[in-house]
Each structure stands twice: as C-alpha cells, then as structure tokens.
Amino acid sequence: MFAAIRAIEYHLPEGMLTNDELACAFPGWTPEKIAAKTGIVQRRITAPQECASDLAVVAARKLFAGGTCRPEEIDFILLCTQSPDYFLPTTACILQDRLGLPTSAGALDYNLGCSGFVYGLSLAKGLIETGQAANVLLLTAETYSKFLHPDDRSVRPLFGDAAAATLVQARPDAPDGDLPWIGPFVFGTDGKGMENLIVRAGGMRQPTNDALPHGRGSVPSAGHLFMNGPEIFTFALRAVPQAVQALLDRAERTIDDIDLFVFHQANRYMLEHLRDKLKIPPEKFVVAMSHVGNTVSSTIPIALKDAVDRQLLQVSKLVLLVGFGVGYSWAATLIRSSL
C-alpha cells in the first residue's frame, strides 16, 4: 500500500482583520503599505469562544462532503495544534466524537507550528505504509490570534486563524517512476531557537500570566506571542535552502524536476527572497496568503488547495513542500499530486 493525499479542504473563521483596521490601530501605517510589505490584505480571526476544534470540525465536514471518504472509514485522526481547546483531554479525541468518527479510530494531538503539516504527512505515511491505518484524517488547526497582543505591530499584521483537513489514504498503486506519492522526507530541529518565537506563560513553567515580569520587545505580557522577526528570518534563510537541497539530493532530483514549490507561507517578503535565492521560477512558486495571512500549520494545505482550485496543480505533478518555524523545527518532502 502507498499513502497519498486524496483530498484537502479548509475553513476560515468569519471574523476579519483588514489592513484598514490595522492602519487605524497603528498610526503611521497605511493599508497600502501593509499590503505591500506583508503581501496580506486580510486575516481571519476567531471569536472569543471559537476554538481550534470548532474550525477543524467545519474543515473536516467539508472534506467528507466532497465524497472521497465517509466519516466511518476514518481509522486515525492526527491533529496538529499549538492552541488546543484544553491541556487535556486531547483535542483529537473531542474531534472523534464531534465528527462521528469510529471509536475504533486512533487519535492524537501533536504540538508543532509551521513544520506541522509536513510532519503530519510523515506520520500518516508511516501509519498507512506499515498497515496500521488506511484513512488518516490529518487536521491542522490554530487560533494564534488569541496569543497576540493588540498593540504588537510585529505579529498582528501577519497571523490569521484557520484549520485544514487533509485525507491521507492508502492506495494500491504507485505513481510512475521510483518516487512514492509522498516522500522522501528531511527533518530538522534546533531548540536553541526556542526564545525567538514563544508564548512563555500558560505551560507548567509559568502556569499563569498573573504578576509575571513584562515580556520582551513590544510584547507587554509573557502570555502573548513574542516573535524575534530578524532572528526568525535569518534562521529561515539558513535552514530552508539547506533542507531543499538535502531533499533533492535524497530524491536524486534537481530544482528543474519539480513542478511546483509550496513553502510555509510566513510572509511574502521572506518567500520571495527564498524563491530568488533558490532560483525557482515565479510560475512554479505558490504564494497564497493575501486573504488568510500566516495560518501556521495550515498554510501549506491551504496553498495546495488554492493551487488545485487555480489549476496550478494537476494530478501527478511533483510538488516540493517545506515547513519551517517555531521550535526551531523544519521539514520538507515531495508529493506526487493525487488530488
């Protein structure tokens, strides 16, 4: 059996943060300048009681409505989130019940950010190709907006909330050639970067945000997201080209062999610089964040779905995916499109 991506859907919350609103909040900015600098026109923001599982439920229901798989056929649920509904129970368990999935299904949450979708593909492939599962529901869902301080101008223009549902399914046939539908993979981890993208309070080391010293930079509280943009940028410029080259070497391919490149949609400036550095032609490089922002682990599936909808991605095309960010953590893989 071979694991392949068979369907992707995503869901965005109704709440919206536009560049007009940001320009009002941050004197000196204009909507045009924000769009030009970030490549983002609007972000979607969850309501106060709207959580990761609420977004994931809608994304998964859309996926089932597409008809590729019925809920009762799902035998494993993987949920990537850093903003779960609760510390415990596992949000994937809640989703099993809310989606009416079989009680015989396995379910787990895993805590990764922007590398999370590629990691999820790796886990799903492992489950399927070792015979442990046949229909894996890979969910990515984040509500990072709840971590953002309203006055933090370094992060509010970038992040948006979203969830994506991806069906990774066993199929008996392999694509032409010697590559599988998904893989090979390269991974990377460097925990020295932990301080550069962090929510300090809320875990057991700093359980609450009360009476804590003020955070760093422009973030007034340890309970909010702190991002050291310059360090993250330097990390990405080092890690991503190396990961791409390592993956191409492992797959015995070159840049020219790849039909489409889908990188984590961090911000347009970073993406364009990486594209230029790697000498990837613009027509092979997906930028799909203008109406959603940086949705963390959902950026890659959202960009893949948009690429299919815009007819940039046809069946059997070879796509290179790279996720990179918080941790630091990064991962890259190739997929042969079966969408």
């Binding site: 050291n228 360090e231 330097t234 990390f235 970073m270």
Partner: protein
C-alpha cells in the same frame, strides 16, 4: 565591498534616494525605516555576500555606521 558600495546598497535596499546616506544617520530616523527594514538588510546581505547576517546583531544596530561595520565584518568573513 567598499564603504561607498555598502552605502549605495543600503540606499537601494531601503528605497532611499542615491547618495543620501553618509554613515552617521540614526536608523530609526530614516525615511521608510520600519520593522521590515531589518529583514530587508538581512536579505540584501544574504544576496550580496551569500550569508545571512545574525538577526539580533542587525536589530541592535542604531546607526548606519554600525550597520556598515557589520557588513564589512561579514564581507571579510566571506573573503576568508
């Protein structure tokens, strides 16, 4: 990279008119300076010198001269 070359590159990167920088300027007082400017400088150095500058070091620079020193240091490292 000469000092003049570096000044011209900075002007181009920060979308300033040519020959407007001399070195003594305070970065945050420059026209167009914002949170993305640091990233633009890191990207420029990566493109010109083939190595990304340490983000924190760039962010700590207060003046154009400090930035030039960082670039010169990176340029020397590359040559070595």
């Amino acid at each position: 990279m000469t000092r003049q070359d570096a000044l011209r590159l900075l002007e181009k990167t920060l979308e300033l008119a040519p020959h407007t920088l001399t070195g003594g300027e305070t970065l945050r007082n420059l026209e167009n300076w914002d949170s993305l400017s640091t990233m633009m400088i890191i990207a420029m150095a990566d493109k010109e010198l083939g190595l990304p500058l340490p983000g924190n070091r760039v962010a700590q620079c207060q003046t154009v001269d400090e930035l030039l020193a960082l670039l010169a240091n990176a340029s020397a490292k590359r040559a070595a």
